[in-house]
C-alpha cells in the first residue's frame, strides 16, 4: 500500500527531480514512513540501472521473423535426419542379431554401426552465404566429420525447370576444386542438401555452386561465397 500523503512523490524523489523544498521534505519523511521508506529502497537501484543504457537503445533491436523460420526448418530437418539415423541404427542392430553365429559377420556389423556414427551436436566450424548474378542465393553450415566436411546447404531462386542438377565445390587454398557432391532444386527453385566434401577446416575459404556437369566437364558457376570461420 502506498503512503496516502507522500506516495506520489516517491518516484520524483528517487530520481532526484522534485523541487528542492520537496526533496528536503521527502528526505525527512522517508526516514520515518513505513510505506515510503521501503518503497524508496526498492526503487533506489533504478537510476543506476537506467544509466547503463542510452535511451536511443529503446526499443531494443527486434529479431527478424525469418530467424524463427530458419530455426524451425533446421529443427524439422534434423528431426528427419535423426529419425533416419535411428532407423538405420535399428537395422544394423538387427543385422548384429542375425550374424551372431559368425564372428566375421559380427565384426562387419559392428564396423557398420561405427560407420553410422552420430554427429549431432558437432559444432559449426564455418558458415557461408552464396550469391550470384541471378536472384538465386544459398547458405551453408559446415561441420567437421570423419570423412572431411559435412555441408548443410539451403538454396532458393534456382532454376525451376526440369529439376536441374547443381554441384557444390570447395575451393582449396592451393587452387584445387573439391566436389562436395550434387543436389537438385525442387519445382519452386528451392533446395536443401546434406553433402560431404573431402576437405577440412582451414584448407579452403571459398565455395562455389555450379550447374551440373556436361560430358564430365564442370558446369558454369551459379553461386559463389566466402567462408566465415
Amino acid at each position: 500500500m502506498s503512503c496516502p500523503t507522500h506516495g506520489q512523490l516517491v518516484g520524483g524523489y528517487v530520481l532526484g527531480v522534485l523541487d528542492p523544498d520537496e526533496m528536503a521534505e521527502m528526505r525527512r519523511h522517508v526516514a520515518g514512513c513505513p510505506h515510503c521508506g521501503p518503497e524508496a529502497d526498492r526503487l533506489a537501484a533504478l537510476p543506476g540501472l537506467l544509466d547503463r543504457i542510452d535511451p536511443a537503445d529503446v526499443p531494443p533491436p527486434v529479431l527478424s521473423p525469418q530467424v524463427e523460420e530458419k530455426v524451425l526448418d533446421k529443427f524439422a530437418r534434423e528431426r528427419g535426419t535423426r529419425g533416419r539415423r535411428r532407423r538405420t541404427l535399428s537395422a544394423h542392430r538387427r543385422l548384429v542379431g542375425f550374424a551372431a553365429a559368425g564372428l566375421a559377420a559380427i565384426a562387419l556389423a559392428l564396423a557398420l554401426l561405427l560407420s553410422v556414427g552420430d554427429d549431432d551436436g558437432e559444432p559449426v566450424y564455418a558458415r557461408v552465404s552464396l550469391a550470384g548474378a541471378s536472384d538465386a542465393a544459398a547458405s551453408a553450415e559446415l561441420f567437421q566429420v570423419e570423412a572431411g566436411t559435412r555441408i548443410q546447404l539451403e538454396a532458393h531462386g534456382l532454376s525451376e525447370t526440369g529439376r536441374k542438377e547443381y554441384e557444390v565445390w570447395c575451393i582449396r587454398a592451393d587452387g584445387r576444386w573439391v566436389s562436395g557432391g550434387t543436389f537438385r532444386a525442387n519445382r519452386n527453385g528451392w533446395a536443401e542438401a546434406e553433402l560431404t566434401a573431402a576437405v577440412e577446416a582451414g584448407q579452403y575459404h571459398r565455395m562455389v555452386v555450379t550447374s551440373g556437369r556436361v560430358h564430365g566437364e564442370r558446369g558454369p558457376a551459379v553461386l559463389r561465397g566466402k567462408l566465415r570461420y
Binding site: D19, E39, A45, L46, L63, V67, K74, V124
Partner: protein, 182 residues
C-alpha cells in the same frame, strides 16, 4: 494452462511438431537476440547465435537439469558460449565490434553480464506505457524537474508526480520478472 519452461525443455526430445520449440523460442528469442546484439554489435552474427542456441537447446535438451539452473540461465549459458565463439572468430576477422582485442575470461564475463543487463533494462523500458516511458526519459535522461515536465507538456504537476511514481513501480516490477536484481 501454459507449460512451464522446464516442462517445455523436458518435452523437446519428443517434440514431433515443433510446438514446444516454437513456444520456447517465443519466450526467449527476443532477449537472447538483444543480449547477442549487445555483446557482438552485429545483427547478423547475433541472429546466428540465436539459431545456434535453439539448435543446441533441442539437441542437448536431455542434459538440462532443472535442479541446477532455470531454463533462462541454461539458455543464456549456451548463448554465452556461442558469443564467445563468435568473438574469437571476430578476433581474426576485423570489422566486428569488440572482436579485435582478445579479452581475459574475467573481462569477457563482465562484458557479457553488462550486455545482458543493458538489453534487459532497454526491454523493460520498452514494455512501459508510452506515458510512463516519456516521463522517465524527460526526468532521468533529459534532466528536467517534474515541475518543468508539467510546464513543457501542459499537464498538471500532480499528474506528473503520480505518473513518475507509477512509472518507476512498473519498471521495478518488470525487472523483477526478468530476475534483474539491483
Amino acid at each position: 494452462m501454459a507449460l512451464s519452461d522446464a516442462t517445455l525443455v523436458e518435452r523437446l526430445p519428443r517434440d514431433d511438431g515443433g510446438d514446444e520449440l516454437r513456444e520456447l523460442y517465443r519466450r526467449y528469442s527476443g532477449e537472447l537476440f538483444g543480449f547477442a546484439c549487445n555483446a557482438l554489435g552485429d545483427r547478423d552474427l547475433a541472429e546466428e547465435v540465436v539459431q545456434d542456441v535453439f539448435a543446441r537447446a533441442w539437441r542437448h535438451a536431455g542434459d538440462y537439469d532443472p535442479r541446477r539452473a532455470s531454463v533462462r540461465t541454461w539458455l543464456y549459458s549456451i548463448a554465452r558460449n556461442r558469443v564467445v565463439d563468435a568473438r574469437r572468430r571476430a578476433a581474426v576477422r576485423p570489422g566486428v565490434a569488440g572482436g579485435v582485442e582478445p579479452e581475459s575470461p574475467a573481462e569477457l564475463d563482465r562484458t557479457l553480464e553488462q550486455a545482458v543487463l543493458r538489453w534487459q533494462v532497454a526491454a523493460a523500458l520498452a514494455r512501459l506505457s508510452p506515458e510512463h516511458r516519456e516521463v522517465i526519459r524527460l526526468a532521468h535522461y533529459g534532466g528536467l524537474t517534474l515541475r518543468e515536465i508539467a510546464e513543457r507538456k501542459g499537464i498538471p504537476l500532480g499528474t506528473v508526480k503520480s505518473r513518475t511514481s507509477y512509472a518507476l513501480r512498473s519498471l521495478r516490477l518488470i525487472l523483477d520478472e526478468m530476475e534483474v536484481a539491483g
